[in-house]
């Protein structure tokens, strides 16, 4: 059995030491040889990565994994989802247990520079916000002076809150509770005046309270930047390019109006951008080391960014907001595919 095979054989270890240096350089070759993409995802976060009733993974991050698999193999289903906890995720990427992380991970300086990862893009712009009861008649976070605020400890959320209070000279009493569900329960039970976490989290918490959803307001202030994006190991540029352009292709497709439903019919479109996109001209796939229909496969099998967002995130009650295309006033912007 695999169990003992992996445990016992010292020779196996010796053999893989020599192979290891190669693996560092060539994730792409390793993935191709393996025939399946190892993708690190969240252990369960609604809208981003969570198994449904049939045990199939769904979510915005899951679609990111699927897009990369579609680009590499032409088959979005060739993904092995490896659920990772917040503590495990970086080790899993460093040790090669996963090829890429698509695990609602905030792109920060330290993670990019010190931990040895490359963040290849941003697939969700998040930020920390506040939710209060409508009956409290608060319309701005600046009015929260003297309030009690429910917050989870040990996260950047707690630090951001303290920083923000100090910077704006706002005094508040933090109610610190370890578990997410319990923080939320404390807020709904009235133990604190406001609840703070990422805006996406606030929206989904509010949406889960179907009966009283409209009794809570998310305040307009966003006090931190939480750009979430896929990450790969540092120094493996080939693979980083593939992940980066898989994400860009999804964004570009939305801009071009290409969807999983209509891309087949757009194959013969005259528009040169679309011609390049579907691989009819330009040879871009070859440059990535992929099939020229890589982007076509992504859109056909996974859909464009907007479709993915609507399928996964909209049901949580989260607006597109900053995640709209740049043409619509958002931040989603793909460098041109040319």
């Amino acid at each position: 059995m695999n169990f003992f095979k992996t445990l016992a054989v010292g020779a196996f270890i010796a053999a893989s030491v020599s192979g290891a240096a190669l693996a560092q350089q060539a994730t792409f070759e390793a993935v191709r040889a393996r025939g399946i993409l190892n993708c690190g995802v969240n252990t369960g976060l609604a809208g981003f990565a969570a198994p449904d009733s049939q045990g199939n993974w769904r979510g915005l991050d899951v679609d990111m994994c699927r897009a990369v698999a579609a680009a590499i193999f032409g088959d979005a289903s060739k993904v092995r989802y490896i659920p990772t906890t917040a503590q495990q995720r970086f080790t899993a990427l460093q040790s090669g247990e996963v090829d890429m992380l698509a695990r609602n991970t905030t792109w920060t300086f330290q993670r990019d520079v010190q931990l040895g990862f490359d963040f290849v893009g941003i697939n969700f712009y998040d930020g920390q916000g506040f939710m209060v009861k409508r009956s409290a008649n608060v319309s701005s976070a600046r009015e929260l002076n003297g309030a009690t605020i429910c917050v989870q400890p040990g996260t950047t959320t707690e630090l951001n809150l303290a920083d923000w209070g100090r910077a704006n000279n706002i005094r508040f009493t933090p109610v610190v509770i370890e578990r997410l569900e319990e923080v939320n329960a404390a807020y709904f039970a009235g133990r604190c005046d406001a609840l703070t976490t990422d805006v996406s989290g606030l929206a989904s918490v509010r949406a889960s309270r179907a009966g009283e959803a409209n009794q809570h307001v998310i305040l307009p202030e966003v006090i931190s930047k939480e750009p979430l994006g896929p990450a790969v190991r540092h120094g493996d540029n080939r693979f980083a390019d593939i992940v980066r352009w898989s994400l860009n292709a999804m964004i570009e497709a939305e801009e071009l109006g290409l969807t999983s439903a209509n891309i087949e019919s757009k194959l013969s479109e005259r528009n040169p951008s679309i011609q390049r996109f579907v691989g009819a001209t330009g040879d871009f796939g070859r440059m990535l080391g992929l099939d020229n229909r890589w982007a076509f496969n992504i859109i056909k099998q996974v859909g464009n960014y907007g479709e993915s967002f609507e399928r996964n995130v909209t049901p949580l009650g989260i607006q597109r907001g900053p995640n709209r295309l740049w043409t619509q006033g958002g931040l989603m912007y793909s460098p041109p595919l040319r």
């Binding site: 270890i13 893989s16 609604a46 045990g55 247990e97």
Partner: protein, 379 residues
């Protein structure tokens, strides 16, 4: 002279009043109630107050769990559940998600494979519990069954599609972790306990003491973190030992340290005379230990050992912190989808029933085993 005396005796005997039944109020249910529940006014008051609470909460529970409950909803539309939230259970969650809770992310069409594995596991437990099967063949049965379980779960041969370990989940993970945990920790614990008591091998003894104290000195959760977060960093890049296997090894090492101390307790309870008698018969160390000491020692420590086993069975749920979908984690994950958020109680009730069945069975069996193996010590 004889006759009058005899008559007198008879007279005394006949004067004895006929046996009357004790007063109605002292016997039967009424008597029991009076003696135990209504013996004084304090007792009566407490009884009435508790009875009131019991009835009230029982009614509330029945209302919640059965009368107001929603048993199924169309598709993912949980508005019916939301309408009764707080007053009625949403068993529709279980109807919709029971297969996910039991089998996690295992491919949906292949769920019969982990289901069959669970059946094999339970069958193994039943066979092993029966004294009639305590023969050498049992080891063979175990090997064959575990092989079959491995083939079923992994697949890849015999026309079964290959299923990578990351997709395993639910009850079968809990059973795998607990069964292998107990099966490997037990012999390891015996070795450790014997090693710690060894007088002729000081190095072995020191090693065992260090091992036991080191492992007992840290929580299981930190061992699991070591196994899942630190350990991979020490391995050469490209070599990955399966996450489940790492967790399994951590659980075995942890359980063995605790069990070793339990077994050592049993070893110490064996009177010196038993050792000496065995030596007088000319038995070697291993024969003495295997034939005389261990059988008696293990018998003595059945209750604490089962205590440990039950603890271990439930400790396996800690693997959720390293992202393995065991039974408990699958239940928690089942309520992540927005439509089903907030119905945690229902999922937890289901899981707690499953845990209870297994743990109670273990407990009951150990009581029977104790009685069977220790007839001389029954009090």
């Amino acid at each position: 002279m004889n006759a009058p005396a005899h008559e007198a005796v008879q007279a005394v005997q006949s004067a004895d009043p006929p046996m009357r039944p004790p007063p109605m109020l002292q016997t039967g249910i009424v008597g029991w109630l009076r003696a135990n529940l209504f013996s004084s006014w304090i007792s009566t008051a407490v009884t009435l107050a508790l009875a009131y609470l019991l009835v009230r909460y029982a009614i509330a529970f029945v209302d919640w769990a059965f009368i107001n409950a929603v048993w199924s909803v169309p598709g993912q539309d949980t508005s019916a559940c939301r309408a009764v939230e707080g007053s009625g259970a949403c068993w529709a969650l279980i109807t919709e998600k029971h297969r996910f809770i039991l089998f996690g992310t295992y491919p949906y069409d292949e769920h019969w494979r982990p289901a069959l594995c669970c059946v094999i596991f339970v069958g193994l437990y039943l066979i092993s519990a029966n004294k009639r099967f305590w023969r050498r063949e049992l080891a063979l049965i175990w090997l064959v069954s575990l092989g079959a379980i491995g083939v079923l779960l992994w697949g890849g041969i015999l026309g079964l599609t290959y299923v990578e370990q990351e997709r395993w989940g639910g009850l079968v993970i809990t059973l795998v972790l607990a069964t292998f945990g107990i099966a490997f920790a037990f012999p390891l614990a015996i070795v450790l306990a014997l090693g710690r008591r060894s007088t002729s091998l000081p190095a072995v003894r020191a090693l065992c003491v260090v091992y036991i104290e080191l492992i007992r000195g840290v929580p299981l959760i930190s061992l699991l973190f070591m196994a899942s977060v630190m350990f991979p960093l020490f391995l050469p890049e490209g070599l990955n030992i399966d996450k489940l296997l790492r967790a399994q090894v951590a659980i075995i090492l942890f359980a063995a340290a605790y069990l070793a101390e339990v077994i050592r307790g049993g070893l110490q309870a064996i009177p010196r005379g038993q050792y000496e008698a065995a030596e007088a018969l000319g038995l070697s160390y291993w024969k003495k230990t295997g034939l005389i000491v261990l059988p008696q020692a293990l018998r003595l420590v059945i209750p604490p050992m089962v205590n440990n086993f039950i603890g271990l069975f439930k400790d396996t749920s800690l693997v959720l912190i390293i992202g393995i979908f065991d039974l408990l984690n699958a239940a928690k994950t089942s309520i992540i989808e927005p439509a089903w958020q907030g119905f945690g109680v229902e999922a937890y009730i289901k899981v707690s029933i499953i845990y209870f069945v297994f743990c109670y069975a273990m407990s009951k069996y150990s009581q029977r085993l104790e009685a069977e193996l220790n007839p001389g010590r029954r009090r």
